[in-house]
Amino acid sequence: MTEAEFRDAFRQHKDVLFRFAYRMTGLVETAEDVVQDCFMTLWRKPEAYQQERGALRPFLLGIARNLILKRRRGDRPQEVLDDEALICAPLDVMEAERGEAVATAVAQLPLLQREVLVLAEYEEIPLEQIAQTTGAGLAAVKSRLHRARQNLRRMLAPLLEPKGVSYGTKR
């Protein structure tokens, strides 16, 4: 990879990677570190990216995802990742600002649901590319996205429903 190609790749993908890392970790500093490590990997091992296997963006997002999971495992070694069936309880969002409430709700999602939701809803990445990024099957991605939306609807019910309507928890 030439220097010009590297610079192009950085300019083209740094924002998507940063937003993804930020929404996954909730911290600007950590997101910055993740993006930096991601491009360092590309710079040091450009042969790891094979053009015929797909576009650069899912490849970089895959690296970022692995870095985030690695950090998370370091912080919480006992955490189980495959808690896809987890049902989130409604949040007390009436006092919080709407944007903050959404951030809190997304942060409550299980990691595998959160990554799919962030990539699909915020970055508008096609599900096939999300499957490529996460190393999961298309059906699993669809199912995680569906569960994530269900959980968010439940958590953010007070902000979605007209005032006075209560939203029960389906457990």
């Binding site: 220097e3 950085f10 937003r19 910055e32 710079w43 959404v102 809803e121 968010l152 953010l156 979605l160």
Partner: protein, 104 residues
Amino acid sequence: MEPNDDVKLQKLLKEWKAPEAPGSLDRSVLEWPQMRQTWWRLFVRGYIRVPVPVACCLALLIFFAGFEFTRRVTPGAPCVAASAPVGQPVARDLDRCRPAQSCS
């Protein structure tokens, strides 16, 4: 009901804005290719990672090498004879050393 909900949900989700990537990210990442360009820049600003055990061994090695070097270079303790002031006679009782002679 769900499609309508989805539109509402999507709108609500978009209310959470992510911050812009900080400028320090550009500076730190775009520096690497420049560092490769010029060897002297790497020499001046580059760094290497050394594992702690290797660093400890190197430090010990350097310490002992330095110790050994200084031990060899430092001259030995001065000779007692050489340190005596020149020109002063040393009194010796020679008679005591000789066997007794009889005067006949």
